[in-house]
């Protein structure tokens, strides 16, 4: 059975860029590859392209599926948003998803072969920033013949990229759509990232980041990192509602195996993640999050930092998101107001914490869908 609201079976593509890219850190990559997917048709005026930026664990696989027999298992991470008749309607928009530089889904990253050594980069892969990602994405836009995006959209770290696009290429973005994001991480946020990194760095199987050569992966570290992260993506209420103090065996057994259901859930999430995600990518992605701070070069003045933006904006946050709280989104909104930008802001009542941005709460998709409908060429 085919779902008329699905983009259906999709196949990723790879773009190779032979011109070197100088990174914010000063490091240089002689060239790179980006894996991407597209949905819908680019119109003749090339005015309907939308870039979807992914967050920490996301990828270029935004919508559709890879295997018709295993649709659910191979579904894109934002499939509920992107498709024919969905809020980001592929009948109207040409949607591009891209795996970022340093990623582990096929774009050049720590698993790739370092042409200088003939071995995987591992820990030698340079640290990349949100600015670098946008630079790489801009080259993909050039390659695809997209001069101006109708919109750049992302949640969380993806929202930071959307914001950065409006600053790095003000003339190339008509609408910045920034969801469950922040203009910079708080100390608490960086602290959580640091715990996650230490979990990986202190795993004996990490081998200073060159674990590929040893035929192992720092599974335990990655697992712990994901467990910590996962706690922060959910809300206290939702966790209480979903798991409460439910016991696996209905009694206290006085051991360290799974007793409370929340333990089981976290272990499952950690195990699943450690199966496929690359530890070096995890490390460098958390650093990209920590470094992002467009106001840094403006003495901390976000209003001054956003003065370059020319786009219109839609900003959204979720009431129970304590990792990227509504207050952080409001900071962006007020800085945009200061600069006279057109901006709409939705603060959505949803109990799922930070992960709300991946769900389809009715008021969330209604507001976002209305905005997207209004900007369709």
């Amino acid at each position: 059975m085919t779902d008329p609201n699905s983009v259906g079976l999709v196949v990723p593509q790879t773009a190779r860029f032979d011109q070197e890219i100088r990174l914010k850190s000063g490091a240089c990559l002689p060239g790179f590859e980006l894996v991407f997917e597209t949905y819908g048709q680019l119109n003749a005026a090339r005015s309907n392209a939308v870039l979807v930026c992914h967050a920490l664990s996301g990828s270029h696989h935004v919508a559709g599926y890879y295997d018709a027999q295993q649709k659910k298992k191979t579904l894109g991470w934002w499939d509920n948003l992107v498709g024919p008749g969905k809020p980001l309607d592929t009948n109207k928009f040409f949607v591009v998803g891209v795996n970022n530089l340093g990623g582990c889904y096929g774009s050049t990253g720590p698993r790739s072969i370092n042409p200088e050594t003939g071995k995987p980069y591992g820990a030698d892969f340079p640290l990349v920033t949100v600015e670098d990602w946008v630079e790489a994405q801009a080259r993909l836009a050039d390659r695809l013949g997209i001069g101006t995006w109708a919109a750049v959209i992302g949640g969380s770290l993806g929202g930071m990229q959307a914001l950065q696009w409006t600053l790095a290429y003000p003339e190339r973005v008509r609408h910045g759509i920034v969801i469950a994001s922040a203009p910079r991480l708080s100390a608490q946020n960086i602290a959580f990232n640091e715990v996650a990194r230490q979990a990986i760095l202190s795993d004996p199987d990490f081998h200073g980041g060159h674990y590929y050569e040893h035929g192992v992966v720092p599974r335990n570290g990655l697992r712990l990192a994901r467990m910590v992260g996962h706690i922060t993506y959910l809300s206290d209420d939702q966790m209480a509602e979903k798991f409460g103090r439910q016991l696996r065996h209905g009694e206290h057994r006085f051991h360290y195996d799974v007793e409370f259901e929340i333990e089981s859930y976290l272990r499952y999430q950690g195990d699943k993640f450690a199966e496929f995600f690359d530890a070096n990518t995890y490390l460098l992605t958390t650093k990209a999050l920590d470094y992002f701070d467009p106001a840094f070069d403006y003495g901390g003045d976000l209003r001054a930092a956003l003065a370059r933006a020319r786009a219109d904006f839609f900003v959204a946050s979720f009431t129970t998101d304590w990792r990227f709280s509504p207050e952080r989104s409001r900071e962006i909104v007020y800085a945009l107001l200061h600069n006279g930008r057109k901006v709409s802001y939705a603060e959505i009542d949803c109990d799922a914490g930070h992960d709300s941005f991946l769900l389809d709460a009715p008021h969330y998709h209604a507001a976002l869908g209305a905005y997207l409908e209004g900007i369709a060429p």
Partner: protein, 202 residues
């Protein structure tokens, strides 16, 4: 006939210069801002808490900010708007005085409208022993979203006490401006307010 059927819009529009920055508090579905955008080319923003109204504003092509007015306007900068409007919702807000002061901090002028409790039929209802229910006070006492009940005379007294300058007052009944005693004949009051001592921008 007025556009969109709201009798006060034309009067509000008369106080707004083309190209102004306008903030509409409790903007509903954005109809007033849309009207002012089309008629006056204003740069408008609405503040609205109800999620369905937020979506309606977006559909109307109006910038909308889903903020809770009870938290005040602290994120808005001084003098960042030419006019701050609050149309028929002042009576629904608990922190009346702080909000009025905030409106005049953020905007050069404030435009406020509210249902007048002193309207003659309302007085008659009270005199007959019942709370008034009318076109602009359509609720029963037990289901009203209104939390402040006041007359034009009450509001004038508050403005005088708080150093808020009343620059213009229009009173309406049945969608028409009324002559004579506004507090007796006016069903709805529409005020243009400014800071005491500041130049009138009207």
């Amino acid at each position: 006939m007025t556009l969109y059927g709201r009798f006060d819009f034309d009067h509000i529009a008369r106080w707004i210069q083309p190209g102004e920055r306008v903030l509409d508090l409790g903007c509903g579905d954005g109809t007033l801002l849309k009207f002012l955008q089309q008629g006056k080319g204003i740069h408008g923003y609405g503040v609205e808490l109800d999620p369905d109204n937020v979506t309606a504003c977006i559909r109307n092509g109006v910038n909308v900010l889903q903020f809770d007015l009870e938290r005040g306007l602290q994120g808005f900068e001084d003098d960042s708007f030419d006019h701050v409007i609050m149309s028929l919702s002042l009576q629904t807000v608990r922190h009346t005085v702080p909000l009025l002061k905030e409106m005049l901090r953020v905007g050069h002028e404030a435009v406020v409208s509210f249902p007048n409790f002193g309207y003659q039929p309302h007085r008659e209802a009270i005199a007959a022993g019942r709370m008034p229910v009318s076109k602009h006070l359509p609720y029963q006492w037990y289901d009203s979203p209104n939390v402040r009940f006041f007359t034009i005379a009450d509001f004038d007294a508050l403005c005088a006490e708080q150093g808020i300058q009343v620059r213009e007052l229009l009173a309406f009944a049945n969608g028409q401006p009324v002559a004579g005693d506004p507090n007796l004949k006016g069903e709805v009051a529409l005020y243009r307010l400014g800071r005491q001592g500041a130049a009138s921008g009207g």
